[in-house]
């Protein structure tokens, strides 16, 4: 799994194979459930889903991991900011999801449990939301999967007016601290998934399309999305 350097060690007279793990390091700034946004703005009115955790958590061997906040984060946005993504079309690098359908990502339902998420292939995958017209994006709220404590690798959020994301691309969030997805090294911290999700500061970046990357998670190799909400001011 990502971020683990393995060194074999010889166990003389042993009947077992072990690997000694040396965990990689990484820089960090902010992470899941972050507070912040536009100074003097209005609190973003995000509706958080109820908590529903299943089973025993798996170890998360990720450096500088931001834990789940104890209370809902407060995030400030300019007056007039609205939810722009609900019901909007979603495309993906994996056009044939393993579980679920891409429209779940903007259907407004953020619950945990079976049937509420889409599962995409392993490796670095993206989903992209077409806001239908350019907007000043002030917040991108993201719920990958929150019925189990886990962290997704290489969470990157980009905004652009180019549907191919070849020109005019602004990265507003990036926690790929070792550049394993080869999209540039990020300075944000990996975070533990929860009902509070992630609020990425859009910083008023203008664009019609929002693209989100990930590369598996600490529980399995797959990529998941329950919901993405893009808040901004349409141009």
């Amino acid at each position: 799994m990502k971020h683990t350097t393995t060194i074999t060690t010889l166990l003389a007279a042993s009947t077992a194979l072990f690997l000694i793990n040396c965990k990689g390091g990484g820089s960090s700034t902010s992470g899941g459930g972050t507070s912040g946004g536009t100074p003097g703005g209005d609190p973003l009115a995000v509706e958080f889903p109820p908590e529903l955790i299943e089973g025993t958590p798996k170890p998360m061997n990720v450096p500088n991991l931001v834990q789940v906040p104890e209370k809902a984060p407060t995030f400030l946005v300019p007056k007039g900011t609205a939810l722009l993504s609900k019901g909007k079309k979603v495309t993906s690098s994996d056009d044939n999801p393993i579980i679920g359908t891409l429209d779940l990502i903007t259907d407004g339902d953020k619950q945990a449990g079976e049937g509420y998420f889409v599962e995409l292939l392993d490796g670095t995958q993206w989903v992209q939301i077409d806001l239908e017209k350019s907007a000043a994006v002030h917040a991108v709220c993201l719920w990958h999967f929150h019925s189990q404590r886990r962290a997704y690798h290489d969470v990157i959020v980009q905004i652009s007016d180019d549907p191919e994301f070849k020109t005019g691309v602004t990265t507003v969030y990036n926690n790929d601290y070792d550049d394993s997805s080869k999209l540039g090294k990020g300075s944000d911290n990996p975070y533990v998934e929860s009902r509070f999700g992630l609020i990425a500061d859009g910083k008023g970046t203008k664009g019609r399309y929002v693209r989100l990357y990930s590369m598996g998670n600490t529980s399995n190799e797959m990529n998941h999305y329950i919901e993405v909400e893009v808040y901004g001011i349409a141009q």
């Binding site: 166990l11 042993s14 077992a16 194979l17 793990n21 690098s93 393993i98 579980i99 945990a112 080869k182």
Partner: protein
């Protein structure tokens, strides 16, 4: 799919990953691993029976094993079936045949070699017996059944069919566990005389909630009834119901009580258990259970305590702790919860006890084990304060040690590798149905003891097939 920079085609990635594992093999690797990493001599056609959460965990472990072809997926829920088809397609780039009914699958599919069963517990025995009788080798999740009669039927069917039947006590193939038993406990005897065993699985109340589902995905009532479920809640949460499962002591406790029996090389002579619905009052099964087992082992009497709590995670999660006169090994599938302690004042060696001439390796001292890389010494514990000591007989803190490494595969993968290697004739099963039964049998009596509030002194008939 766009070819993003790190989007390595899955097959290429798996081949590279497998090669990496193979390249990391070292001397003394057990046959189960060596066989699994070698080029497979024969493709094995597998049916996935049950593709819910645990079925998907097993698939995640199997997809890294070379030489498997996932030919069919069977699940009564179209949501799980679709996921199974998608998971197989992602690996093989071809879709498996999908079935809602296992009888239809077995009647239709030709050339199947093995079935991997991860259905609810009350279906384990019927599904295993059907597959064995159809000529398939079977890997079935533990518990073997929700009843001891069901488990017995699996042993009988396996031995009558001549097919392999591995039960999913995956720790039995975990190199960390095998190393601990073979090298540390039996080989170097670092625990001295093991007198007590303690184990637990403590799960937070918020991790023990009912499993939710999108109402639009509800299975038709007639389909649920056909397969033994009264409604969708029961289908999703079958672990809470007495007719469908053994509850927490079975779901969680079976893993660790199996380790008690395996490591001690014995089964308990008696049992006393207690349990209650202290929090989840509407569930049929207890939400917390505590059990005491008494063993007679070659090295003496051993008393074991086990608790499974679904109402708190405090106390270190899940582990098994073997406590002896010279040291304690607390082992867990979660490597971060594994700890080893050396008594600061170990019992003197009994000079009348002869050295075992059949020991696989000569007994090593703690320092010798560290020097040979078989143990890692942890930082010294802080010395106890002299002020405020309430009892002058308090023991000094023991020295801490750790296992020298971690498993580099999903926890279930070595056990599945062992199963498939055994099918190829390259290994012996690490947990066949008969051995699993011997270990599981006492567990079927925990709930009856707790319900009756009576101890049970086992008769041979109670614990035998």
């Amino acid at each position: 799919m766009e070819n993003t920079p790190s989007n390595i085609p899955r097959r290429d990635f798996l081949q590279r990953a497998t090669a990496g594992v193979g390249a990391g093999l070292v001397l003394g690797v057990p046959n189960i691993l060596r066989a699994a990493d070698a080029a497979p001599s024969k493709k094995i056609n597998v049916a996935l029976v049950g593709h819910g959460k645990q079925g998907q965990v097993l698939f995640d472990a199997m997809k890294n094993i070379p030489g498997l072809h996932f030919q069919a997926v069977c699940d009564i829920w179209d949501y799980n079936r679709g996921a199974g088809v998608g998971h197989v397609y992602a690996v093989e780039k071809q879709k498996p045949k999908a079935y809602a009914d296992i009888d239809e699958m077995l009647a239709t599919e030709k050339g199947l070699d093995a079935a991997v069963i991860a259905t609810p517990d009350f279906w384990h025995s019927p599904h295993t017996v059907k597959c064995l009788e159809a000529g398939l080798h079977v890997y079935c999740e533990k518990m073997m059944s929700n009843t001891i009669e069901g488990a017995r039927a699996m042993v009988v069917a396996a031995e009558k069919s001549g097919k392999l039947c591995q039960i999913g006590h995956q720790r039995r193939s975990n190199p960390r566990y095998r190393f601990t038993l073979d090298q540390l406990i039996n080989g170097s005897k670092i625990c001295g005389q093991i007198i007590n065993v303690n184990g637990q699985w403590n799960r937070a109340v918020k991790s023990s909630q009912d499993i939710a589902y999108k109402p639009s995905l509800t299975i038709k009532p007639e389909v649920l009834a056909k397969y033994g479920f009264k409604d969708m809640h029961q289908f999703m949460n079958w672990r809470f119901y007495r007719d469908l499962s053994g509850g927490a002591i079975s779901d969680l406790g079976a893993h660790q009580i199996d380790i008690f029996n395996w490591f001690l090389g014995a089964v308990p002579k008696s049992l006393y258990a207690t349990g209650a619905n202290s929090y989840f009052k509407n569930r049929e099964h207890f939400d917390n259970v505590m059990a005491l087992f008494d063993y007679e082992t070659p090295q003496g009497l051993v008393r074991a305590f086990y608790q499974v709590l679904t109402t708190t995670s405090a106390g270190g999660g899940y582990y098994e702790s073997f406590m002896g006169t010279e040291g304690t090994i607390k082992i867990s599938e979660n490597s971060s919860a594994t700890e080893i302690f050396k008594e600061t004042s170990p019992a003197p060696k009994d000079p009348t006890v002869p050295v075992d001439p059949n020991a696989k390796i000569p007994p090593l001292s703690w320092d010798g084990l560290v020097q040979r890389g078989l143990l890692r010494k942890q930082a010294a514990a802080p010395k106890p304060k002299t002020e405020g000591v309430v009892d002058s007989r308090v023991s000094a803190p023991p020295e801490g040690f750790a296992l020298p490494g971690e498993l580099n595969k999903p926890p279930h993968q070595p056990h599945l590798e062992n199963f498939f290697a055994a099918i190829r004739g390259e290994a012996k099963l690490n947990c066949d149905a008969r051995h699993a039964f011997l270990s599981e049998a006492p567990i079927y009596y925990v709930n009856p003891s707790a319900l009756s509030k009576q101890p049970i002194v086992f008769t041979p008939e109670q614990l035998s097939v």
